[in-house]
């Protein structure tokens, strides 16, 4: 091949390697910074990061599940449940840290039940987790009598306030959870099994792997991630909110898809999900900051998410088209 075409293909390759969600995000940032001079401030940058944290953790969990060709509809309810349980237990007199640990364990337990039903009961994840969502929601409601519950504790404030080299603690926590998830996905057996569950279950069976155990582990790990999201949300709202997570599972699916994870074949990863979540958060933040009336906001958000996913899908198709998938 001649040198100049190689150079050209190098550049186009490089450009093409940038996931579409990233340049859509950059595009939005450009537009918003033109619309408001307050936009491109460092404080708004940390603001966006902090705001993206709770959804980010849920989206990591959802990405893992989507990679196995499932969808977990109970993730949002798990977040609500954790916020409620933590406050409830603390109110009941348990030390706040113990209560937090119990909440995390409870959430992981809920996750493992999901995994058990899905794999052992062979119930489609969509249905199984929908049931779990309803159960969790009503437990949260029962614990709180439908309202939010509240307790005063300086920990909440400290957690949201704390910063390490200028970046809020909760962002560091999320970064850490990302690392953990990354390690699980790419450095452990379980990670390989996640791709296997999504890509070729037959292969797992022929390798003599019982599908129940990995499923339980995956859903339990998702429970861990959502519980951290729940704890952080509790700190952010300083209260237990029985409905706070409603609908997060769908936003998490949107972020997952935006991040390039596919609902089929176990294709994707969690790196892209970060940008999916940021895109959603940046969009909401930008619309608020440029003062777009809230009546339009939902429509805009829906439209842009939809279009981004379509663009992304198209771009990917072009890519595999051009690379002429060797097949």
């Amino acid at each position: 091949m001649q040198a100049n075409t190689r150079a050209k293909s190098f550049i186009t390759d490089f450009v093409r390697k940038i996931p579409p969600v990233l340049w859509i995000t950059l595009l939005l940032i450009t537009i918003f910074s033109m619309a408001s001079d307050q936009y491109l401030k460092f404080s708004n940058f940390t603001n966006i990061l902090v705001q993206s944290v709770p959804l980010m953790l849920v989206a990591f969990a959802q990405t893992l599940i989507v990679l196995t060709q499932g969808t977990d509809l109970s993730l949002g309810a798990q977040v609500s449940f954790v916020t409620v349980l933590w406050i409830y237990l603390t109110k009941a007199g348990l030390p706040i840290y113990i209560a937090a640990i119990i909440s995390v364990v409870a959430s992981m337990f809920v996750g493992s039940i999901n995994g058990l039903i899905v794999s052992k009961g062979k119930i489609p994840p969509f249905i199984a987790t929908l049931g779990m969502q309803n159960i969790l929601n009503s437990i949260s409601m029962l614990l709180t009598a439908g309202a939010s519950i509240y307790i005063y504790h300086p920990l909440f404030y400290d957690v949201t306030k704390a910063k390490i080299i200028g970046i809020p603690l909760v962002v560091w926590i999320t970064a850490f959870m990302f690392m953990v998830t990354w390690v699980v996905l790419y450095k452990t057996k379980l990670g390989a099994q996640i791709f296997g569950l999504g890509g070729n279950q037959e292969a797992l069976t022929l390798a003599g792997i019982n599908l129940v155990k990995p499923s339980i582990k995956i859903y339990a790990f998702a429970g861990l991630l959502t519980s951290v999201s729940g704890l952080i949300t509790t700190c952010r709202l300083e209260s237990g909110q029985p409905v706070v997570g409603a609908g997060w599972e769908f936003e998490a699916v949107a972020a997952t898809l935006l991040g390039g994870t596919s609902l089929r074949e176990g294709k994707g990863g969690i790196g892209g999900t970060i940008f999916g979540v940021l895109l959603i958060t940046i969009l909401k933040n930008g619309l608020n900051i440029s003062g777009v009336p809230s009546l339009y906001q939902n429509a805009i958000i829906g439209l842009i998410i939809l279009m981004s996913i379509v663009i992304d899908a198209l771009a990917r198709r072009m890519k595999s088209y051009e690379e002429g998938a060797k097949l």
């Binding site: 057996k189 990670g191 390989a192 791709f195 070729n200 037959e202 390798a207 088209y321 097949l327």
Partner: protein, 504 residues
């Protein structure tokens, strides 16, 4: 027998509606290649899977040496040193080659995490032993060609260092060169005392590597014989249970008018370079070449799966721009793919659904469809092609591999297409069915349909084609009419060493 390492006694296995294995006795000696043959659906894969612990038989016993075993899962079998290359696709698309080979027994580093470096090194070594060092171990298997994927499957099975190995049609997706590497490897395994069960439909392979041969028919064992005590015809007769005379048969035929033409057609990736071919009405044109010569890519290009990078494509005199499968199908072109699993069939759907899916519109141009008529049509094709299925409502994933291929054929035949592109049409199909497919191709040609056939089996290309193009490295390097060139001459051209191509 002295060195028998595996014996089965009266193995019986039933699936709803079929007795896949009926009291089968079988034995394997160390250091031998024991070939399993039989028509599609005869029970070869089922027997293999019983031995591998993937199926639990309803009756019968399995002995390893003198010890009776009963495997609950493939893991039990693996632990006893029995590994396999399955007929199924067992790779995970978005894990890389190394991860796939060492799936679920990944090497760990001192932190207990997967040691990718070591894994990739080991994977590389394994592939090198198969002469496949060109496969990038870091690439997700999704992006490998079918042949490369198959080599990875083989490497994966080898990585278990088994005492007994089962190969279920390992060469169905391989080209000559890879087949040779595999055979060399199998011979080495044999020398080291490993027992090998080898399932295949390719007669020419048997003599090459086989020691003994067991014939199955309809789930029953017909015979076990030494390979040099039997000739091809006897084998075929044992498999089919009836007399078979001539393999390739072509009727006298006249070609009228051109239906497909390409002018300097190229793709975007440089795998197809300035190809000029023509196809006439009623003609069978074969394309010979090694795997990787660009034959499949050419077919994909014509069928609209890949975009045109340069040159022109005419179908029935009309230039096709912006090619896409939808457009091409509308022009009356059908394609039977190389990779039937992923491109030809909806595996979870029934034989009936798959057969009529693309043709419903032509059978029922009005709004309503008639179930009765569909059943008639499908039953007819199932009979014609001798698809081994208890009924037409069976999900395709429950058919044997070869029978799935037949359903793909039925699909396009029922769609009443004028131009058929066959990419390896008889791969994994037993001899009996092969001849039926040949006869069908001949019949189609006399009916005025045109066929573009790609095949790695040279005898098939030579036997069936009216004209042959030879491809090498993305280009057409030769063309000849029926009977003009010998197999050796064509083979040389395929390798890119044959001098001038003959004028047509």
């Amino acid at each position: 027998m002295d060195n028998v390492i595996l014996t089965t006694r009266a193995i019986t296995k039933e699936f709803p509606g079929v007795k896949a294995l009926d009291s089968v006795d079988f034995d394997l000696r160390s250091g031998e290649v024991h070939i399993l043959v039989g028509e599609n659906g005869a029970g070869k894969s089922t027997l293999s899977k019983v031995i591998l612990g993937a199926y639990i038989p309803e009756g019968g016993e399995i002995y390893l040496g003198d010890e009776k075993v009963s495997f609950k899962s493939t893991r039990d079998a693996l632990q006893r040193g029995i590994a396999a290359v399955y007929q199924e696709f067992t790779l995970i698309p978005y894990l890389n080659v190394a991860q796939n080979i060492f799936f679920n027994r990944e090497p760990r580093n001192k932190y207990g995490l997967i040691d990718h470096k070591k894994m990739e090194r080991d994977a590389k070594k394994l592939l090198e032993s198969l002469n496949c060092d060109y496969i990038n171990v870091k690439l997700p298997t999704k992006f490998l060609s079918v042949a490369e994927q198959q080599m990875v499957e083989i490497a994966k099975a080898l990585s278990f260092n088994p005492r007994i190995m089962v190969f279920d049609e390992p060469t169905a997706t391989l080209s000559e060169r890879e087949v040779e590497s595999l055979f060399r490897r199998i011979k080495k395994l044999k020398e080291s005392g490993i027992g090998i069960i080898y399932v295949s439909h390719r007669m020419q392979e048997f003599k090459h590597i086989g020691d003994r041969i067991t014939v199955l028919r309809d789930g029953k064992k017909i015979a076990t014989v030494n390979i040099d005590e039997v000739n091809d015809m006897e084998l075929v007769n044992m498999m089919v249970g009836r007399d078979i005379s001539q393999v390739y048969h072509r009727s006298e035929n006249h070609f009228t008018g051109e239906v497909l033409r390409t002018e300097k057609l190229s793709d975007k990736k440089g795998r197809v370079k300035e190809v000029d071919i023509t196809l006439n009405k009623g003609e069978i044109v074969g394309i010979a070449g090694l795997v990787g010569a660009g034959r499949t890519e050419l077919a994909r290009l014509i069928f609209g799966i890949d975009p045109i990078g340069g040159g022109k494509l005419f179908i029935k005199g009309k230039e096709i721009k912006d090619n896409s499968p939808v457009k091409i199908v509308k022009e009356g072109v059908g394609m039977v793919c190389e990779d039937r699993k992923r491109m030809g069939l909806a595996l979870n759907h029934s034989v009936m659904w798959n057969t009529v899916a693309v043709s419903l519109k032509s059978f029922f141009p009005k709004l309503l469809i008639s179930h009765k008529k569909i059943v008639e049509i499908v039953t007819d094709y199932v009979k014609q092609l001798r698809v081994a299925t208890p009924d037409i409502y069976r999900a395709c994933k429950n058919l044997s591999g070869g029978n799935q291929q037949k359903v793909v054929l039925a699909k396009w035949l029922s769609a009443n297409t004028d131009i058929m592109i066959f990419d390896e049409p008889t791969r994994g199909i037993d001899v009996g069915a092969k001849m039926e497919i040949y006869a069908m191709m001949d019949k189609l040609a006399t009916e005025g349909k045109s066929i573009l056939m790609i095949s790695s089996e040279l005898p098939e290309v030579i036997g069936m084609s009216d004209r042959i193009y030879i491809m090498n490295n993305g280009r057409i390097v030769g063309e000849c009419k029926r009977g003009e060139l010998s197999a050796d001459q064509i083979g040389a051209l395929m390798l890119g060493v044959g001098g001038d191509s003959c004028a047509s």
